[in-house]
């Protein structure tokens, strides 16, 4: 029986969107924590750490996200870690996010004038306190537009989970397309749902950038 792409089918696609949003959020939080470490390592005074972080960023920015997901998905079992597909995907997306966020935040940390950190040192503050109380809060503000912009990329990146068989937004679309034979309508709908999720973030990022530029 061939179904038409009607209301129940649209609901099914929206069910998939729930996964898309959950995965994006999870990957952003975990990737953000890792990314902060990468950014700190990349800007630290210890040379091996800096080199390691630079290589780490280079690898995640120089290979396709799809391959990163495949490697995590096929690689984790080799390490003796048996995980569910969705966990493997979130792990892969998180690593990907940590590379990109690490690079964005490195730039923001370096954009904070050196004098800030030097003044902290002159006052006798340790590294942890200088970073936490002086540098990072300023870097955070500088990094906001790019960070929110990256959230859009990460959300779009979750679409690749469909190729591993996880039923998120894109995969729901594939399934509905297969039973309704109306790919045009289905993928247009899927695209619009992504658009509805991403556009507010894009606008927010542009707004933040304008505000940052205005403040100079």
């Amino acid at each position: 029986m061939i179904r038409t792409f009607g209301f129940p089918e649209i609901l099914f696609v929206l069910e998939g969107a729930k996964w898309t949003i959950l995965m994006s959020l999870a990957a952003f939080v975990v990737g953000g924590l890792l990314g902060l470490l990468v950014a700190l390592a990349r800007t630290s005074g210890i040379r091996p750490l800096r080199i390691f972080a630079a290589g780490y960023i280079q690898i995640f920015q120089g290979t396709p996200l799809l391959i990163q997901l495949f490697l995590v998905y096929f690689g984790l079992p080799l390490l003796g870690v048996k995980v569910e597909l969705w966990l493997a995907v979130i792990a892969g997306l998180s690593l990907h996010a940590s590379g990109f966020l690490g690079e964005i935040w490195r730039g923001s940390i370096q954009a904070v004038p050196d004098g800030q950190s030097e003044a902290g040192r002159a006052l006798g503050l340790g590294y942890a306190s200088r970073m936490r109380d002086i540098v990072l809060p300023q870097a955070f503000r500088i990094s906001l537009p790019a960070t929110v912009g990256f959230m859009v990329n990460l959300t779009k990146g979750t679409a690749l989970a469909a190729l591993l068989g996880l039923t998120e937004l894109t995969r729901s679309g594939q399934l509905m397309s297969n039973i309704t034979f109306e790919p045009l309508k289905v993928y247009a709908t899927v695209g619009l749902v992504y658009f509805a999720i991403c556009l507010p973030l894009t606008l927010c990022s542009a707004q933040l950038e304008r505000r940052l530029n205005a403040q100079g």
Binding site: T63, P64, I67, L78, K156, A162, T170, P183, C198, L199
Partner: protein
């Protein structure tokens, strides 16, 4: 303990080499077409006609806020309903070009906006023709100003080509999937694949840098 065995992967090097070549080919064509179309979009985006501006903004935001994979599916599976039947390779190049152009348009626009009005007026005052003003005073310095972001966008595009394997366009990732199906050495295959992409992105970065130095090495002061 798992025994790594890379030999079956390297035995299939011909497939990988052919795939890598296809990836470079698809990327290069889409970059060139995307650059042209992107510049047209920039012109529309900055046109004095409001309707043109709205169309360009709508197009750019639609492309930038939806996943490339969905765009590929829409073109390859959806367009035949409207009578546009493309093979996998054509669909891949078309989607890449459409996708690329939106990002390029945004980047080029920021470059054009960095050109001061006085520059154009100076050109006019020197008696340059309008095409010459656009070519030498607007276009070239604008691209030069944003060339680094343009290059990173190109490399992201090249990495994105890995997704067109999903509509069985025969590029690098597709070749790897074939080897995976024959050898069941999934991890090894994708590990080598990742390494090849890493090398490709370095080569693209070098190549684009070289083009940039050749085309944009003129004195500015």
């Amino acid at each position: 303990m798992y025994d790594f065995d890379f030999a079956p992967v390297f035995q299939a090097w011909r497939l990988l080499a052919a795939g890598a070549w296809a990836t470079v080919y698809i990327s290069a064509i889409s970059m060139a077409l995307g650059l042209v179309f992107g510049i047209v979009l920039t012109a529309m985006r900055m046109a004095p006609v409001a309707a043109l501006r709205s169309i360009a903004i709508g197009y750019i935001e639609l492309i930038r806020n939806t996943p490339f994979l969905v765009q590929v599916f829409f073109i390859y599976f959806g367009m035949p309903e409207l009578g546009l039947r493309l093979n996998a390779m054509e669909a891949a190049i078309l989607t890449m070009t459409l996708n690329c152009s939106a990002y390029i348009a945004e980047i080029v626009r920021s470059g054009v906006e960095s050109i001061r009005k006085g520059q154009i007026e100076a050109g006019r005052a020197l008696g340059m023709s309008t095409p010459d003003v656009y070519r030498f005073i607007v276009f070239r310095p604008a691209i030069r100003a944003v060339y680094p972001s343009l290059c990173s966008q190109f490399i992201l595009m090249m990495l994105n080509t890995s997704l067109v394997a999903s509509i069985s366009a025969q590029e690098l990732t597709y070749a790897a999937q074939m080897i995976d199906n024959q050898t069941f050495r999934s991890f090894e295959v994708y590990f080598v694949l990742g390494a090849i992409y890493l090398i490709l992105s370095q080569l693209f970065s070098l190549g684009l840098g070289l083009i940039g130095r050749t085309y944009f090495s003129y004195p500015t002061k």
